[in-house]
């Protein structure tokens, strides 16, 4: 029954979705869509429209200048919020979805034009470095004070100094979910992913950063390390874990719901979603914030440099920042939004589960997954491949 429940719930599991749609994505990529054209010389990709002036064009005004071309995860917004925008401003929303960030980047680089896009923080930095997104004039946003100027970490986040080019949206931590009815010997550490009681029922997220980051925290190393000695230690550590594992998987909610997982490296938002909508008995589930520290990651709205309707995009971002819309989105998504108006709503949702609480003023940004040089990325990736292939 668990599974039929989960099938009916229109809950958002963008990370689930991400993996679930791989087949389709792969099919599309192999058919050449969004791929054949995504390798122009860097110079050509900065202003594919040809008409726009180089990146620092005068900031757009928040006035409706056409329909909204919207590019996001599928279902990663509360539906009535999107409907409300169409009605209130009398515009259409032309929606396209992506299922991975690299896929999103490929589509943007191959000249597709969008008004608003929601990249992960790491990708905001990449887009900014490539002059592919435009400066957002905060004076144009009536509700800018929801996100900025009250001491939030995101006034000046690592990926976009002063949030000049982006409006922060949602965030998540990575911790551990476990079943209290099966496991009694948790220690509140990442070492719990080597728990004897859970042997054969332990899952690690199938993502290089998450797996390497977890082992790095356990070993007292930097989550972003690319040092060969560090990576060798991390590799040994991860290989030592294999006898305990059931699988590497990002299909976390199904793993929890199907009874296969007793201990699962887990994203906070998915955990909240799971216990709120899918779990038969939420009380047996607990989320641990490991003492060695937790990775924290986020996403943010951007307006591409070649957006056909930057005015509408600004109106839309302003609309999303209205307190009532922030609340609706938090309740629907289960991810805390990076806005003052939403703090109380999220706090209420995680009442009694302090390990899920997030303080937007005190984010430790040393545990954020960063961009690396190509060589460092390759080194980290090789470790991950060797671990999975062994």
């Amino acid at each position: 029954m668990t599974n039929s429940n989960s099938a009916q719930e229109p809950t958002v599991r963008r990370r689930d979705f991400l993996r679930g749609s791989l087949g389709l994505g792969a099919a599309a990529a192999l058919a050449g869509c969004g791929f054949s054209g995504d390798t122009p010389a860097p110079a050509a990709s900065t202003s594919p429209s040809g008409s726009a002036a180089p990146s620092e064009s005068p900031a757009a005004k928040a006035v409706i200048d056409g329909d909204l071309v919207y590019f996001n995860w599928a279902e990663y917004i509360e539906p009535t919020v999107l409907e409300g925008f169409k009605k209130e401003y009398g515009v259409k929303v032309i929606e396209t979805n992506y299922d991975t960030y690299p896929g999103m980047l490929a589509k943007m680089s191959s000249g597709n034009q969008y008004d608003v896009v929601l990249p992960g923080a790491r990708f905001v930095e990449q887009l900014r470095n490539q002059n592919m997104i435009q400066r957002i004039d905060k004076a144009q946003l009536k509700n800018a004070n929801q996100s900025f100027g009250w001491g939030s970490y995101f006034d000046n986040p690592w990926y976009d100094p002063n949030s000049d080019y982006s409006i922060p949206f949602s965030m998540y931590t990575t911790g551990i979910a476990y079943r209290k009815d099966k496991i009694t010997t948790m220690t509140g550490s990442w070492a719990d992913l080597w728990n004897e009681e859970g042997k054969g029922h332990i899952y690690v997220l199938d993502e290089a950063d998450e797996a390497i980051g977890m082992a790095a925290l356990l070993l007292g190393l930097d989550v972003n390390t690319a040092n060969p000695d560090d990576l060798a230690k991390i590799k040994d550590k991860l290989i030592s874990q294999k006898p305990y594992l059931r699988a590497y998987s990002t299909d976390d909610i199904n793993n929890l719901a199907g009874g296969n997982a007793w201990i699962h490296q887990e994203w906070s938002g998915d955990f909240l979603n799971f216990i709120n909508y899918t779990a038969e008995d939420p009380k047996i589930w607990e989320y641990i914030a490991p003492k060695e520290g937790m990775p924290v990651n986020s996403d943010a709205w951007v307006i591409p440099a070649n957006a056909p309707h930057p005015g509408t995009a600004l109106v839309f971002l302003d609309y999303l920042l209205r307190p009532e819309n922030i609340i609706k989105n938090i309740e629907y998504l289960g991810y805390p939004l990076l806005a003052q108006g939403g703090e109380a709503t999220y706090a209420k949702m995680v009442e009694g589960r302090p390990s899920l609480a997030i303080d937007l003023k005190n984010i430790d940004d040393t545990k954020v997954y960063r961009n690396h040089t190509p060589a460092d990325t390759a080194a980290r990736d090789t470790v991950w491949t060797e671990v999975k292939a062994s």
Partner: protein, 300 residues
């Protein structure tokens, strides 16, 4: 299957000289749209993959064309060999299992299906209209520790349950289920075409049913079996969905490796190099297959 095609081609050849020039030209024109389609969407993407396999990744994670051999050098790592051998073992096992399942099924339908033949074939094919991905998800749900199969086992006394999922067996089972129909259909087609009088003749010559089967039926359907082997083996070797959804911590296949490079690591050049190597390996099997069928054609 391929003999069908070869028959068709062969049938047109002797007549070709007698055909009027206009008719030949018409065929040429009719070939143009599909040829254009193949060139634009198939040949060009393969060329891009080949070109990109010599490329690099820039500081912003974007691929760029180049003339570097670094991607191929990176593949000189025993890790990749391990994965390749594992994939090979899984796909050969899959082919063998498909053959043992597919042949009897095709035989039963073709020779004993009577008027229900077409309905039976439809019943086999229709489930395959549902996306492979969806069917794999269904399996992972059914076979999970608290899924329907284990619930049923529980009621008949297996209180500990059985762990089906996340094992090499589950991956192979997924592959077999996913591709068995590609084994059944070509064998069915060749059995359908076979003259059943041959079987009667075998029996008249005092062959046992088993000996008749191996001396008459199997050679007559060899092309179908070879076609089935190829149609199952090629997709199984490149598959990543089964290992992704049903596999465990140590069931990584070459398809997963490629998929990871494209969709997670932002390393399309390395993914392309892997793809080229996989395509070359598949080409070897393809050549082997073509030679095998040619030999058969010469013999018959």
């Amino acid at each position: 299957m391929s003999t069908d095609l070869q028959d068709a081609v062969a049938a047109t050849l002797p007549g070709a000289k007698r055909q009027s020039a206009t008719r030949t030209r018409l065929w040429g024109w009719l070939l143009l749209p599909p040829a254009a389609w193949m060139i634009v969407f198939f040949v060009s993407s393969i060329l891009i993959v080949v070109a990109l396999s010599f490329g690099t990744v820039n500081a912003n994670g974007r691929p760029a064309f180049g003339t570097s051999l670094a991607n191929y050098q990176a593949l000189m790592n025993t890790t990749y060999l391990t994965v390749f051998i594992r994939s090979l073992v899984y796909s050969v096992t899959t082919v063998v299992l498909c053959m043992f399942i597919g042949y009897p099924v095709a035989y039963a339908i073709a020779l004993h299906g009577g008027k229900y033949k077409n309905a039976l074939i439809a019943a086999l094919v229709i489930p395959f209209f549902a996306s492979y991905l969806i069917r794999m998800y269904a399996w992972s749900t059914l076979l999970s520790d608290e899924g329907l199969v284990n619930q049923a086992l529980h009621t008949v006394g297996f209180t500990d349950g059985v762990q089906f999922l996340n094992t090499p067996g589950a991956v192979v089972a997924g592959l077999v289920y996913g591709f068995v129909v590609f084994m059944i259909l070509p064998i069915y087609a060749s059995l359908e075409r076979m003259d059943t009088a041959l079987i009667e003749a075998g029996k008249d010559l005092y062959h046992s049913p088993l000996r008749t089967f191996f001396a008459v039926t199997v050679p007559a359907t060899r092309a179908g079996v070879l076609g089935g082997v190829l149609l199952v083996f090629l997709p199984a070797l490149g598959d990543f969905v089964s290992a992704q959804l049903l596999g465990g911590p140590s069931t990584f296949m070459i398809g997963n490796l490629i998929q990871q490079q494209f969709f997670e690591s932002q390393n399309q050049p390395l993914g392309s190099a892997l793809t080229v190597v996989l395509m070359l390996a598949l080409l070897v099997f393809m050549v082997f297959y073509l030679r095998a069928t040619q030999r058969q054609n010469r013999e018959t």
